[in-house]
């Protein structure tokens, strides 16, 4: 019998949803275990970093890394994962784009610590005691914690990534497709995103009109959307035009708009810029346009609350402007 493959699952700054989705492949797990040994996966076995560190370089065939990189431990594991693996897959939107944790790039470590260790209503911490990366007791024993970074990064900001499997989390069907490719041994060229190159709108079955126009922006709970018609046309912000297909339009099926978790297609430079353009361009243009003042236009577009959080929900660390800088408050970053 051919030698079994060696697989590893490594956790970065993750919510663990990706772990759950891997386990959700159910009976396929048995098949996977038939052809592969899982040599490291904190979620299902008792493992230590030191065991991973002790493995020979390049000895793991495939590693799935899920979660973003936002502290020194994530960075360390990312580098070890790279060294020990022949193929490294960025698994899930956090690893691929920075994901939801990436929204922390609108603030910084200092502010985050202030909220977490001081401002939350359930916290009493008058001396503002915060976790220290290193602490020594009187007898010289040293305890350490990972260093928390100002920024949240994607995996490939630190190490070379062989394949990308976006999605928050990647769906079972996507994981199965990726496994098929791995099992077949016919791996695509490195650097490939294991998802479609089309946009979600291309695959979405909802009716769209030729000349799309949004009259008014609504939040999903404010209207009962027609299940046959394009959500964007009904005024619900749907990121389908700027998002990669591959999720079988799961959210749309549930009458919820796409929030963009699969990220942009290769054709887009910036997911947020791309959806901003698509939505602004169809926002209530009528034949009374020349009578509209710049003030009216401002009112029209300010119906979109929090464009940054909405358009870059999963991709801020990969956006062109990657993090906010506080020019307006004249603060140094």
């Amino acid at each position: 019998m051919a030698e079994k493959m060696k697989l590893a699952i490594i956790r970065g700054a993750t919510c663990s949803g990706c772990d759950v989705e891997i386990v959700d492949i159910n009976e396929r797990l048995v098949e996977v275990l038939g052809i592969a040994d899982i040599v490291y996966a904190a979620v299902i076995m008792d493992t230590k970093h030191s065991e991973l560190e002790a493995m020979a370089d390049g000895s793991i065939d495939i590693t799935f890394y899920h979660g973003a990189v936002r502290d020194s431990e994530n960075e360390h594991l990312a580098k070890i994962a790279r060294k020990k693996s022949k193929t490294l897959i960025a698994f899930g939107s956090c690893a691929v784009y920075g994901g939801i944790p990436g929204l922390a790039n609108v603030t910084n470590k200092e502010e985050i610590f202030k909220v977490a260790y001081q401002d939350t209503p359930s916290t009493v911490n008058p001396d503002f005691v915060v976790p220290l990366p290193e602490w020594k007791d009187e007898r010289g024993h040293v305890l350490t914690l990972p260093r928390f970074y100002d920024d949240v990064f994607s995996l490939d900001d630190f190490v070379e990534v062989d394949y990308y499997l976006p999605g928050c989390p990647p769906l079972v069907t996507q994981i199965n497709q990726a496994l098929d490719v791995i099992v077949s041994g016919e791996l695509p060229p490195k650097g490939k995103v294991l998802a479609s190159e089309k946009t979600l709108c291309d695959e979405c079955k909802r009716e769209k009109s030729e000349n799309m126009r949004i009259e008014k922006i609504c939040r999903p709970h404010e209207i009962e959307p027609d299940p046959e018609k394009c959500l964007l046309e009904q005024g619900i912000i749907c990121l389908g035009p700027a998002t990669r297909a591959g999720c079988e339009a799961k959210c749309i099926e549930a009458n919820m708009p796409c929030r963009g978790c699969l990220g942009a297609t290769a054709a887009a430079i910036d997911q947020g810029g791309s959806i901003l353009s698509a939505i602004a361009s169809i926002l209530d243009i009528t034949d009374k346009e020349s009578q509209m003042s710049e003030e009216d236009i401002y009112k029209l577009v300010s119906q979109i609350k929090d464009p940054l959080g909405t358009f870059y929900r999963f991709s801020m660390p990969k956006s062109l402007l990657r993090r906010t800088k506080k020019e307006l408050e004249k603060e140094k970053v």
Partner: protein
């Protein structure tokens, strides 16, 4: 401070570029801080281009098109004004002063106006100072080579421990 702003100007082919040309032919005095990109229509200026310009360190971006109802492609500038208005809100969220992005309607006959806008805008940007995205930060290293592992030292400098 030994700093001169860098301003990027997008002009549509049919009105604003001709307006700029007129300003040049008439030898109107203008500061030389701007570089111009001619596009077919102001509607061709994708928000991604503007974000790219800021990410590469532009201190200000001016988009200029035909007056409303005069766009050669009928509705290009209607889209432009919505995009720019929304983009202003977005860049403000990123921490950029929205004044760094400006939209103007300049016709082929308005050489004077073009020169005036350039003078005004340059003064305004000078008063604002360099863009906060200008500084060579750790992130710039990442941007230049997204798949290379050179970042970590930069990150260590940028994010010292508590």
């Amino acid at each position: 401070m030994d700093w001169e702003p860098k301003i990027l100007v997008f002009c549509c082919n049919w009105c604003s570029y001709a307006g700029a040309d007129l300003a040049g032919i008439a030898r109107l005095q203008m500061p030389t801080n701007f570089r111009m990109i001619k596009v077919m229509c102001s509607g061709r200026v994708d928000p991604e281009f503007i974000l790219s310009a800021f990410s590469k360190g532009a201190d200000g971006v001016l988009v200029s098109g035909c007056h409303l109802a005069d766009c050669h492609y009928i509705g290009g500038n209607y889209r432009t004004r919505r995009r720019i208005a929304l983009l202003k809100i977005l860049i403000e969220q990123y921490g950029l002063n929205p004044k760094r992005l400006r939209l103007e309607w300049i016709s082929a006959a308005e050489g004077q106006k073009f020169a005036q806008v350039i003078r005004e805008f340059t003064e305004e940007i000078k008063a604002l100072g360099p863009s906060p995205f200008k500084k060579k930060s750790a992130l710039a290293v990442v941007e230049a080579s997204p798949t290379v592992a050179k970042v970590s030292t930069a990150v260590a400098e940028a994010s010292p421990g508590t």
